[in-house]
Amino acid sequence: MDGVRPMVDMTTQLATLTLPNPVLTASGCAAAGRELHQFFDVAALGAVVTKSIMMRPRSGRATPRMAETPSGMLNSIGLQGPGIDAFIDTDLAWLAEHGARTVVSIAGGHTDEYVELARRLNGHPAVSMLEVNISCPNVESRGQVFACDAIASSRVIGAVRRAADPSLPVFAKLSPDVTDITLIARACADAGADGFSLINTLLGMVIDTDTMAPALGGGTGGLSGPAIRPVAVRCVWQVRRALPHLPILGMGGIRSGLDALQFVLAGASAVSVGTAVFGDPSAPVRVLAELEQALDDRGFAALADAVGYAHRRPADRLVPEAAEVAAG
């Protein structure tokens, strides 16, 4: 930390996609980039991940839609959005115009909806990757969330993989609310997933002690923020260990470069900054700068060398700088 700007090769690879750096926004926490562009150039990010889009316009749920919790928040938005056509015409067009690499998150109530979304996005020059949000109730299975069932997950991912432009990586975004996330990951991998986005929110609830009823209009909601970071890091670690050849986009409570580094060391090739944006609109670019500095401080010449580093056995490690626990 000698004041010199760090010179770390920050490029990263998400399957066939090369990004100039590994820091992205998180779906639903950056809309489609336009508002954040008031605070920083969205083209400076690895990519913008857009809010999950569905076929039709959606109102979302009744308010209240959020509750702050210790080091976290619950949300119950219900995927409010304009529908795929308006999204392509306005949001994607704006992103293309501003030179932002774009990961489009798609969501559906049944497999066909996902497939149709992938088709509509094929060939659009602004789209760099698809993130498939399978934390949605499957209307054909009495509302069970796709991501909580290996078969439903693999069916959606397989169908999207077949429908999507072969040059676009398809990432499966998994839910931590499962008994064994590696089983779902493996099913998605077998179905052709090119990588994983880990993790979506945890199902949570707050009771309002004034009204003595659930605080959210939707009853339960998704828990995000630093509170869930240890769960997210664990999921990244487990999936990396189970499927070391597939890239991971890690997320869940990242607020600083050192937080991002935890995900990278656990096996993520890139990270999304979500809830932190609400507290600090320029968090993604700050996290990027801090991560580069942190890698430089630790002697990494390239981000790629740090990906999964915490899995190495002691013998395969760099000689770590002696951690000074206390003076003496």
């Binding site: 308010t63 209240p64 509302g143």
Partner: protein, 292 residues
């Protein structure tokens, strides 16, 4: 009502606290934030980080701007008024001069101004009067006759009576408990005020039930009301979709719109007051809500 609302261009600033003043149950802050001051229009708000380093409170708190002095003896300053509500506002009210706050603003839409002089009644509930004061100044400067009505549950929760009187002269005060001014609700005295000055527009800021009552009075008098709403906000900058309420558009269709960027100021007759907090079946996209 032809002039448009001014949508803000927000910046994030580390704002030194220039003064902290206790006023009744409220605390009034003046902080140095030249970038925010430069863009300020009445109705805009700021979002302030609370709790300091290592806090468990992730989200910013929203406060309407009470004023801004873009230049002067010091770099530009802004003012806002804080009512202690929960842990975030409690933390704020404990700050001292010289400390800094992390502030994003100006945010949201401003009160649309009439294109020429036009009689107006301004209705503030509790700290809701704060954004009306700079609005009153602009209206008066433009030659509009202005009356201000201030209401609160009790006298110590009134805000801005003196400065309101200095600004417009005609001020009426109500309190629910009669501890100051007329006993009753502030909307009760609105019809008289409208008639007294032949108001062509009402501006209001305060709790939702008050805004709804104001909206009804304005409708009964067939005049416009512009109201600044207060919905829980996670981001304040338009990216999260937590702060929505059902609003009718020019096309007659209702949508859930974001009160942080499409508001907080709305034409009162466009807000579907009775449906706030519900999912009305005719809101755009409600038909697609199957289960989640």
């Amino acid at each position: 009502m032809t002039a448009d609302t001014v949508v803000s261009k927000p910046v994030q600033e580390t704002a030194e606290i220039f003064s902290v003043q206790k006023i009744g149950e409220y605390v009034q802050f003046t902080v140095v934030a030249p970038g925010i001051a430069a863009g300020f229009q009445p109705g805009h708000f700021v979002a302030v980080a609370v709790g300091g380093d290592n806090t468990s409170m992730l989200l910013r708190r929203a406060f309407a701007l009470y004023g801004a002095t873009p230049t002067g003896q010091f770099a530009g300053t802004i003012q806002f008024v804080v009512a202690e509500h929960g842990p975030g506002t409690r933390w704020l009210t404990q700050r001292s001069v010289g400390e800094t706050l992390d502030v994003v603003g100006p945010l949201g839409t401003s009160f649309p101004l009439p294109s020429g002089p036009s009689p107006a009644v301004l209705v503030g509930g509790g700290y809701g009067s704060a954004p009306l004061i700079p609005l009153a100044r602009e209206l008066v400067a433009a030659g509009s006759p202005v009356e201000i009505l201030l209401g609160a549950a009790t006298g110590s929760r009134l805000f801005g009576e003196l400065v309101a009187k200095r600004t417009v002269g005609a001020v009426t005060v109500t309190t629910d408990d009669g501890s100051a001014g007329v006993r009753g609700r502030v909307a009760d005295v609105l019809p008289d005020a409208i008639e007294r000055i032949g108001a062509e527009v009402v501006y209001a800021c305060g709790p939702m039930p008050m805004l709804r009552a104001v909206s009804e009075v304005a409708r009964a008098h067939a005049i416009q009301a512009q109201v600044a709403v207060e919905e829980a906000m996670a981001c304040g900058i338009g990216v999260c979709m937590t702060c929505v309420l059902p609003v009718r558009g020019d096309d007659g269709r209702s949508r859930f719109v974001r009160s942080c960027v499409d508001g907080p100021v709305f034409a009162a007759d466009r807000v579907r007051w009775e449906d706030v907090g519900t999912l009305p079946a005719d809101v755009m996209g409600a038909d697609a809500m199957g289960g989640h």
